[in-house]
Assembly symmetry: C2
Homo-oligomer: 399 residues x 2
């Protein structure tokens, strides 16, 4: 029996749009929902209480990062990722595959979906590509730690073992995330390997009955930008007895709509679908329209720390000098803690003075904006107003 | 009429120890009390709600820093420092004198009471001493901005004018803070100037009736380590019609007890006394024993950001590798948010991974520790147990 339950509350007769209720051992997620990313067991600068106040229902942590620091055993000793970080709601861990490649073999090859890297990260990327290059075999992937260069080996079984120690409500099968620039031949080879790894992940997971009884496992559909590969992957992964599905890989933004919709037409309708690592406002609308139930993305917190803040008319950068004397809230119709209590002028001061509280206020606002945008979209689905909301949002928001 | 009211709730028959109630336009401060420092209009990494949760009753902001960034007018436009930073309780601003000298003329000369400077600050100190040197005349002090090197001129009148714009409940007369290494002759000359500046500050303040009706002005006793100068200063400043008093200047820690007690014997008993910039546990006990009602210090937040955390048995550094696997709270008997929800192991991970939330959890703990230590001391005074508490604290705490 699956440790999670997914019921569709409302769906379109034609099309893929849907709103559902996903029940996990640690509580309910009303889908579509945005999972806030707490990479290393903390959502950068925010407390669990702030996440709750924002309306967050689920937090996603990264297996790769937690494995390297502090190590899965330490998290397990605390009772799992939730108690470790004092977040008592639903949790997700990814498989570590994306980071093992994007910080390893694929460094500098355009796999990363990470927006707004700081210059130190960029330099590291450029210097260390060779040093960190990962080696992929049928067995798994050998990669080097970005922290100390030490060698590590992830297999599907190892990824699941780590995720069992991390103890999230939802875990993911180990996959290879290829560069969108890789040729068809390589993509095909990688995809077939990913399918074999999916099977091994599922097998290993199911054998650990106690874990499988309290942790769901999602399979990941890959296939890059190739229609036929995506279809094949959706059929293959969709036929395995996963509790839900992820759609992985980096593809150009314009592909989201077509690729994701096509995949979701093939995947079993009664199981939840997570579009991995995507979370810009436009993509949320397009993804949901294409049948996505879950999202996660570092963008809201990452760009916040660079001073980029969402408003209904697009992003602003609070470091722009015109905001120094701006007495209005970041977004006048926003109900977040930051907008209720602080002016753009104050935020601008905190950013210019490099005050830590500025990073926090900006993160609260951006996470609130995205989490509640998805909540608004959910409401519009229930009320049959999705297209109206989408049109009015797209009209005002400058992408 | 003074905008503040101070009543002594309990005092020792012999000695200077006392507990009081200081009523300000923005609420009550139960003294002795520790004012948390929000240098630039934010207590580094903490929200006003967290400060309230900690038990903070009063916040002190720095006139010098706010004058340079974002400028007093911006704070005034927000309705004053309290509403600017969303702190609705009592507030204090210092006069700017200490920073104008410690970041100006006195750079590198041992005036600074600031503990645990990071290396960037130290380098700046060493490189820029000449560049930033302040010029002192009878009229005031000319100094250069540590931000952009621009020239500024503070007079007693200017300091009060800025503090009126900042609008705190308690403001301070403009003073010269000398190096403890300066010779007697210079200290004497500076002290007499400080006394003339005190008079000018008071005159200017009183003339602005509306401000004077809602903002208290404290005079500052200086005099370095010289007994006769401190006595003279306490008599001179004590005879002026200030609403309360500050004891300023940096002196060696061992002088706190003798110098402060001597000064407080001379100052009017019915007005509050603030020991400026001092706040280590030992100094709090000694200061209170010597008749101090108010303290402020950046130490709790500053050392927290370096990983130094208070416990009942002394300070620990969370970066020490032994804490990586330590499943206990920072301080097992502490009631702060951090100790109630997180292990040393988690804190250690956050610090090693340079996660922002670590700085915040550490700051919450240290501020809670100090604010509540002073509250405990207050309670012991009311219950007649001060000496018992002091002895038991000193026995366990390794300084």
């Amino acid at each position: 029996m699956s440790p999670i339950n997914f019921s569709i509350e409302k769906k379109e007769k034609e099309g893929l749009l849907r709103a559902g209720i996903l029940t996990t051992p640690h509580g309910v997620i009303h889908t579509p929902a945005f999972a806030v990313v707490g990479t290393k067991g903390t959502v950068k600068s925010l407390s669990p209480e702030e996440l709750l106040g924002i309306g967050t229902e689920v937090v996603l942590a990264n297996t790769y990062h937690l494995y390297l620091e502090p190590g899965a055993e330490s998290v397990k000793e605390h009772g799992g990722i939730g108690t470790y970080m004092n977040w008592h709601g639903p949790t997700i861990t990814d498989s570590g595959g994306f980071q093992a490649f994007s910080l390893g073999a694929a460094l500098g090859k355009g796999v990363s979906k990470i927006i707004g890297k700081d210059s130190a990260e960029k330099e590291r990327d450029e210097e260390d590509i060779e040093h960190l290059r990962a080696k992929i075999t049928e067995e798994g992937v050998e990669f080097k730690s970005y922290i100390d260069g030490s060698s590590h080996f992830f297999t599907p079984e190892k990824s699941i073992e780590i995720q069992h120690a991390l103890g999230a409500d939802i875990s993911f099968a180990f996959d290879e995330c290829t560069s969108p620039l890789a040729p068809l031949e390589y993509q095909k080879e990688a995809l077939e390997r990913t399918h074999r790894w999916a099977k091994r992940s599922l097998l290993y997971h199911s054998a650990q009955r106690e874990n499988a009884s309290r942790q769901a496992l999602f399979g990941i559909v890959q296939g890059g930008r190739f229609k036929e590969l995506r279809e094949e992957s959706a059929r293959t992964i969709g036929n395995m007895s996963f509790d839900g599905f992820g759609i992985g890989g980096s593809f150009e933004k314009e592909d989201i709509q077509s690729v994701v919709g096509m995949v979701n037409k093939i995947l079993p309708e009664d199981k939840p679908r997570h579009l991995l690592g995507i979370g810009e406002p436009k993509d949320l609308f397009l993804g949901i329209e294409a049948g996505i139930d879950l999202f996660d993305c570092v963008a809201p917190t990452r760009i916040a720390r660079n001073g980029q803040l969402y408003t209904r008319s697009g992003k602003i950068n609070i470091l722009n000098s015109k905001f120094r004397t701006d007495m209005s809230a970041i977004d006048e119709i926003c109900g977040c803690y930051t907008c209720r209590h602080y002016t753009r002028s104050y935020l601008s001061h905190l950013f210019h003075a490099k005050e830590l509280f500025g990073l926090r206020l900006a993160s609260i606002h951006n996470v609130y904006f995205i989490v509640n945008l998805v909540k608004d979209i959910r409401k519009s689905i229930l009320e049959g107003n999705f297209v109206k909301l989408k049109n009015s949002f797209f009209e005002k928001f400058v992408f």
